[in-house]
């Protein structure tokens, strides 16, 4: 946590603002946020949410011991600030966020005059006909931050487009999070039943991972034709080559071939991507698998495998029973 006063000393007010601040003693504000500058914190999280002019900077409020003084001084200065013309004012983040949480704030350009803003400080201009009180300005900043995030959430949570109020949005978010958590529970239960030994085919898993990294979808119809073609390719040489290699890699093959042979009623994402991998020259597949196996197992390489076609036969199951 940095100290605000050290930051302020390094600050020079904008040249245009000299006229306003001339009357205010710089020294008195040495350790306040009196100008209403909000100093950024060192741990920033940059989030640009579609608004090109907004820069989000995380802010930390001044440490506790200063809070009492600074709030007082700030209120004094605000009275002077109100007297400034053009309805321009700066706001502190202290009033709105008197808790010691660090928040992300964004700088916005609202009024008619646009100045070059220092990226570190939050400058908020009062809109026409709105109060220039620092409290309300801070409130406005806060509200706008929140509404931005709400918009983002609307895209994320399905079916939220019609709800505009904050409470309704929060309701939807809560429901969604709860339903996702319940899904996780249910799926873990399902996995527990389906797999009595917790011995997931690791490579089965990796095949899935590769499927997910593939971006395009393959039509389900194409899959079936491919399947039939590949069914024929259950050559014995594959079985032979499997024997010599690590069981792990075998099950990868098995997993993939199983995936292909599965009926199309299997969920689409799974099927589509698996078929996609079938058809394509398996460049991605090879590279990815290679990396994975090298990282995780450091065992047998897949190179002998890559030339083989992945078929939808049940060779793998035979392998399983044999070994």
């Amino acid at each position: 946590m940095f100290t605000t006063h050290s930051r302020l000393d390094a600050v020079k007010p904008d040249p245009g603002m000299d006229a306003y601040w001339a009357g205010l003693d710089g020294g008195a504000f040495g350790d306040q946020l009196g100008y209403g500058y909000i100093n950024p914190n060192t741990n920033q999280r940059l989030l640009t949410l579609g608004n090109s002019t907004s820069v989000s900077v995380s802010v930390s409020v001044s440490p506790k011991k200063r809070k009492g003084q600074s709030l007082q001084v700030v209120s004094d200065k605000e009275k002077k600030i109100k007297g400034c013309s053009e309805g321009e004012s700066r706001t502190t983040n202290q009033n709105s966020n008197s808790k010691e949480a660090s928040t992300n704030t964004s700088s916005k350009e609202k009024s008619k005059v646009s100045e070059v803003q220092k990226p570190d400080y939050i400058h908020v201009r009062a809109r026409r006909g709105q109060a220039t009180d620092s409290h309300s300005l801070a409130e406005r900043v806060r509200r706008e931050k929140i509404s931005e995030r709400m918009k983002y959430l609307q895209d994320l949570v399905p079916g939220c487009n019609k709800i505009t109020g904050k409470a309704g949005m929060l309701d939807e978010i809560i429901n969604y999070v709860q339903s996702l958590q319940k899904q996780v529970e249910f799926l873990s239960m399902k996995l527990a039943t389906v797999n009595p030994g917790l011995d997931f085919n690791v490579d089965n898993v990796f095949t899935k991972e590769i499927f997910q990294t593939s971006t395009s979808e393959f039509p389900a119809l194409g899959c079936s034709s491919v399947d039939s073609a590949y069914y024929q390719l259950n050559s014995t040489d594959q079985v032979v080559s499997y024997c010599g290699l690590d069981m792990g890699i075998n099950s990868a093959e098995m997993g993939l071939r199983r995936g292909i042979s599965a009926p199309i009623s299997v969920p689409e994402t799974f099927m589509d991507s698996s078929c996609f991998n079938q058809i394509q020259p398996t460049a991605n597949w090879d590279a990815d698998l290679q990396n994975l196996y090298k990282m995780e197992f450091e065992q047998v390489t897949l190179i002998p495998f890559q030339s083989h076609q992945f078929t939808g036969s049940n060779e793998g199951s035979n392998m399983k029973t044999e070994t």
Binding site: K64, K99, E100, A101, T103, N104, R142, K145, I146, R149, L153, L156, V157, G165, K166, A167, L170, D171, I173, I174, Y176, V177, Q178, L180, Q181, V184, E185, L187, S188, K190, L191, A192, T193, V194, L198, F200, V202, N204, V205, F206, K208, E209, Q212, T213, T215, M254, G255, R258, G259, S261, A262, V266, P267, T269, F270, L292, E296, N314, S317, N318
Partner: protein, 193 residues
Amino acid sequence: MHTSSKLKSEFIKKWVKGLQICCSSKKNMDFLERKKKIKLCADIALACAKNSTSWSIALISEAKKHDENKTLVDNLLRPESQIKPQKTNHQMCASHKRVRSKKILKKSHHVCQRMKKMGPPKSNIATYIAKRLVKKRTQVLKRLVPGGESMDEFSLIEEALDYILSLKVQVDVMRTLANATEVLNQSDSSIFD
């Protein structure tokens, strides 16, 4: 989204690794235990894959409290484990301080607001009710999102966003895995028939 697929791959790797560690320790687990282990591994793996968010840090530190999970967590965190502990400790201390200071502030606020609230509600009941609703819901959300207790509204929403994204990833991965193993088992059984 390529970021989500990256997250997915990270998640799968860590999850499977964690499961291997889990089942190496105990041989025959009954159904509920297995389910718990699976879920735990999945949660921790997800949190480890998404390292820098505060909800994930909260989840990890929560899990570390139980000794039995410690090895699991450490293994899954291994590449970043040097960095993580300091960060988590620091963040946890900061969050505790924040919680305490917030509580004090809230109490003082309550007193002030009780004085204020005598007037406005009469004229602005709608906004008053709306605010109460929002407050209640943020409380609920705080309970849902791990580590949400010590966050202010704004960062809570952000964390919720992030958490939703990662939950989606988790559900996706688990679903495909469940379906895949189901298919495998089906084809297995069909052979024997």
